[in-house]
């Protein structure tokens, strides 16, 4: 079991905290300093966003961070260059999250190979269809030991959740409500869905994301799951930060 995501969940089954941040945001070279600060403050998983011009599943906050990162000069080429010595300093699991188009153009095999080289453990590509992954790309991801994480939503049927559980590796990303990122749908209304997911006893750990912004929402999301993902609220904290380190420390302290 060499993948850091698997190692993490082997030792920790509750309250796993995954933080999303857009690579190259707020400034181009903030990628690693932000990751280091997250690690120092006890974050369990880092999900690095690969910015895309047309992020269909994202609300305005993550859209804006992507636009800014792209105008800062972020691209997959630049990102892998920044991550060249990732594992000298970062020991927590790292996933890359982003849309399929830039990855396709970069080349799926090239992408997986680079991830393995720099020590990225997993990827989330929300618009890569599961069928196509299975028929075309799965052997490539497996060859390079890169875990691909799939999403489920409150509208996903049990049959499809089971199918996703059989294909997903590392964990399952359960979207808390049917929405784009950053919409404030009430987490309290989703308890029945979280309980239903828990009762399915899936083989993968489940992390819940979308709508977590503080300790109360984190606790609500993780009562019936293995942990949660925070994106929009963290990006907002970075947007407003005058000092990144203290902003990150303060933000994480407000969640844990």
């Amino acid at each position: 079991m060499s993948n850091r995501i698997d190692q993490l969940f082997a030792g920790k089954r509750k309250g796993v905290l995954n933080i999303y941040c857009t690579a190259g945001f707020p400034e181009l070279n903030d990628t690693l300093p932000v990751m280091k600060a997250l690690q120092q403050n006890g974050v369990d998983i880092i999900e690095l966003g690969m910015p895309f011009s047309d992020p269909l599943a994202d609300g305005p906050v993550i859209q804006d961070s992507s636009t800014r990162a792209i105008s800062n000069g972020m691209s997959l080429k630049v990102l892998f260059e920044q991550l060249k010595n990732l594992r000298q300093e970062i020991h927590v699991p790292v996933l890359l999250m982003g849309y399929l188009n830039p990855v396709l153009l970069y080349g799926i095999e090239n992408f997986c190979k680079k991830c393995a080289e720099v020590g990225v453990d997993g990827a989330i590509l929300p618009d890569l269809p599961m069928d196509e992954y299975e028929s075309e790309y799965k052997p490539v991801f497996e060859k390079y030991g890169l875990h691909l994480v799939f999403l489920v939503t409150p509208e996903t049927s049990e049959e499809r959740i089971r199918k996703i559980d059989s294909v997903s590796k590392g964990f399952i990303y359960a979207v808390s409500s049917s929405s784009t990122t950053g919409t404030d749908k009430n987490m309290g209304h989703q308890q029945a869905y979280f309980e239903r997911l828990e009762s399915l006893k899936l083989k993968n750990p489940v992390l819940i994301g979308f709508g977590i912004k503080d300790k109360a929402t984190f606790d609500a999301a993780t009562a019936h799951s293995n942990g949660g993902v925070i994106g929009t609220a963290f990006i907002r904290a970075l947007e407003q930060a005058t000092n990144l380190d203290s902003a990150i420390q303060q933000f994480i302290a407000g969640v844990k």
Partner: protein, 408 residues
Amino acid sequence: MKIAENTFGSKYHVDEKGFYGRFGGAYIPEMLYPNVEELQRNYLAILRDPGFQEEFDQLLRDYVGRPSPLYFAKRLSEKYNAKIYLKREDLNHTGAHKVNNTIGQILLAKRLGKTRIIAETGAGQHGVATATVCALMGLECVVYMGSIDIKRQAPNVARMKMLGATVVPATSGSQTLKDACNEAIRDWINNPVNTHYILGTAAGPHPYPDMVTRFQSVISEEIKKQLLEKTGKANPDYVVACIGGGSNAAGAYYHFLDEPDVKLVAVEAGGKGVHSGHSAATTQLGKLGIIHASKTLLMQTEDGQITEPYSISAGLDYPGIGPLHAHLYETGRATFLNATDDEALQAAYELTRLEGIIPALESSHALAKLGQIALKPDDVVVVCLSGRGDKDMETYIRNLPGNTGGNV
């Protein structure tokens, strides 16, 4: 009409998985899976239902005013020394071909039990056509439109509002058609149960390209009948159409796709020139990519970011093309040309003076290339006149030769 005949097995029709050759598919995030899967599962059965077809035909006839005339343009024919016919989609209710699709999709949405309709629009023609059918059926209607397009197509914004639609400006990215489409998709993600998305062109995730094409195929079905009556021959030598996402072209080509003697000509928006950096000629500038959940030719940077297209015509200002057209381009089944802003304007002024018809700026792109196709006097050419120019009057007046910018 036979909008749902089985076409699997044809080289130019969609396959069971939603692909035209290597183009198409449904590259959607999981949040859209239930909506899109519901459509994929149901659309052909609904389109095949005799009750549906009867209602669709009746509305096209009595409400839209179909069949639209196939007009022999005598003076235009003399000018280009060929037999040129105009398929008069500009005479449809609401002024463009777009309404053929919105009638079909609103009937489908009702059968799926949807109560709320969303749409994207560029030129505003699809937005107007959607707002119109929503008023007709008493359904809530929200239309997303790029902020730049809201300014350049003001009459259509007013029409949508009068029809009861809410027009929401898309302020992200290039603030044009692509961004309006992004916002509509985001709305759909946030409203997965009660909402149907009436996409306005032959693009987007499967089954939209095929579904929209089938609704628009009434155009080529009528052309065949009308040509036979007028000339004794059902097949023209050329069918010429402009391409934004490709719905009027797909509809005009449909019944000729498998007839190799009919030459298909597609005209993209060249903007200020293909290599000027201000263009929307996707087949010339694009590479394989994914836009709005469809794998197709796409204008993008070397890092895979979608680039901002440009055209004087809001309806052609799109960095992709529908997957059918990417396939027609790659297989060589259709010839792709492009017309610049200036060429399109000149063609509009020419048609106006020769035939007394003011065309939409989009359609003017198709007209602009008549001089570039090597026509013989006996050639029968059908140009899809996809819409009328009312919405473009401000642009036409501003650019009239000799107009130096003052009031007219």
